[in-house]
């Protein structure tokens, strides 16, 4: 890849990589390091990546870098969500009857609270939610990036939203 091609790809992907890392890690310093690492990998591996799979590759490498950072910081195995649909039944929102969306949305520092809620999600759900809700990726793209079935993506998005709702509710109660 020549330098000019690389710069075009950097211009296209820099914000995507940085955003993903920022929302995953929850701080700018780690996001900057992850962005740097991914872009350097892009430079070294660009020749081997098919053009059609470039976006998926970038997300996959970003996720791996995020997980590496996460492991370094937490020094523990990742708590992957179980495939069992009822696996997190204890975490399921018991009844949202008392949750009034207006009371949750109307606030002054919603952004900060949402960021905190995202940080509380298990890593895989965090990836899926960021990809789906912030990058507006299709389910198929998320499935390709994470190497998981399409239905699992739908389940994770659903579960992620439910957990976020529960966390936000906890923050405001």
């Amino acid at each position: 890849m020549n330098q000019s091609q690389f710069k075009i790809h950097v211009a296209h992907f820099k914000d995507v990589i940085y955003s993903h890392a920022y929302y995953f890690m929850g701080n700018a310093a780690d996001a900057a390091d992850i962005t740097q690492e991914v872009l350097i990998k892009l430079w070294h591996h660009f020749e081997k990546i098919p053009a059609a799979a470039l976006k998926s590759w970038v997300f996959k490498v970003t996720q791996n870098a995020c997980i590496d950072f996460y492991r370094q910081q937490n020094n523990q195995a990742l708590p992957w969500p179980s495939d069992d649909a009822d696996g997190d039944s204890s975490e399921a929102v018991p009844a949202d009857k008392e949750l009034n969306p207006e009371t949750v949305v109307i606030n002054l520092d919603l952004r900060e609270h949402i960021m905190k809620a995202i940080q509380r999600l298990p890593p895989l759900l965090r990836h899926v939610i960021i990809m789906r809700e912030i990058h507006n990726l299709k389910y198929e793209e998320i499935a390709a990036s994470l190497d998981i079935p399409l239905n699992s993506v739908k389940v994770y998005v659903h579960r992620g939203r439910k957990l976020l709702c529960r966390y936000l509710k906890a923050l405001y109660s």
């Binding site: 330098q3 000019s4 091609q5 690389f6 710069k7 075009i8 790809h9 950097v10 211009a11 296209h12 820099k14 914000d15 995507v16 990589i17 940085y18 955003s19 920022y22 929302y23 700018a28 996001a31 900057a32 962005t35 740097q36 872009l39 350097i40 430079w43 470039l54 929102v93 009844a95 949202d96 009857k97 949750l99 969306p101 949750v104 949305v105 919603l110 952004r111 949402i114 960021m115 939610i129 809700e133 912030i134 990058h135 739908k154 998005v157 659903h158 939203r161 439910k162 976020l164 709702c165 936000l168």
Partner: protein, 186 residues
């Protein structure tokens, strides 16, 4: 539809991917189930809140550091500046230019070709008999419309039709006939 089924369809419902009949069934269920309604509202709220976060712009110093590590001159000449164009845009623009070129070529071929444009309209000459026939047809139409108007007026006067039905019909008919009468006494 059960709450379990509603829960399974929720994601497709929020993204507008449900077939119409399933959507109708789901909405019917939501109308009668406050728990599921609340669930949908919560998901929508979370979706909207997350959308507000948006893409976080990458600081320039991160990119400069990467270019420095890879020993790439950040000021080296390139047609694309950071953030201005995306990969694939060049191809897209190429297609646009190709389309424009194709249109210009086709246009030029039409103009240059000997039979370009529409043929000039030929002045058709009508015989006196044809003109007379057309006049008769117009007269017949006008007289028929007059008859319709008279009959309508009569029906109105005899209270055969209610006033509110006939009045607008009559006024619209009068408006339509006005140019045809062309000042003739009605």
């Amino acid at each position: 539809m059960t709450c379990q089924q509603c829960n399974e369809l929720l994601e497709d419902y929020l993204t507008g991917k449900l077939p119409i009949w399933t959507k109708v069934a789901l909405r019917r269920h939501l109308a009668g189930c406050s728990a599921c309604r609340s669930e949908v509202r919560s998901h929508q709220m979370i979706h909207q809140s997350l959308q507000q976060l948006g893409i976080q712009p990458c600081p320039d110093d991160v990119i400069l550091r990467v270019l420095e590590i890879l020993q790439i001159d950040p000021k080296s000449s390139t047609k694309h500046s950071f953030g201005s164009r995306r990969p694939g845009m060049a191809v897209r623009y190429r297609w646009r230019w190709a389309t424009v070129a194709l249109i210009v070529i086709i246009g030029a071929m039409i103009v240059v070709s000997p039979k370009h444009g529409l043929p000039p309209p030929e002045a058709k000459h009508y015989t006196d008999a044809e003109i007379q026939q057309a006049k008769d047809q117009v007269r017949f139409t006008i007289s028929w419309l007059r008859q319709v108007q008279i009959q309508t007026q009569k029906a109105l006067e005899d209270q055969i039709f209610p006033q509110q039905v006939i009045k607008p019909l009559r006024s619209s008919l009068s408006t339509a006939l006005k140019p045809l009468f062309n000042g003739e006494k009605r």
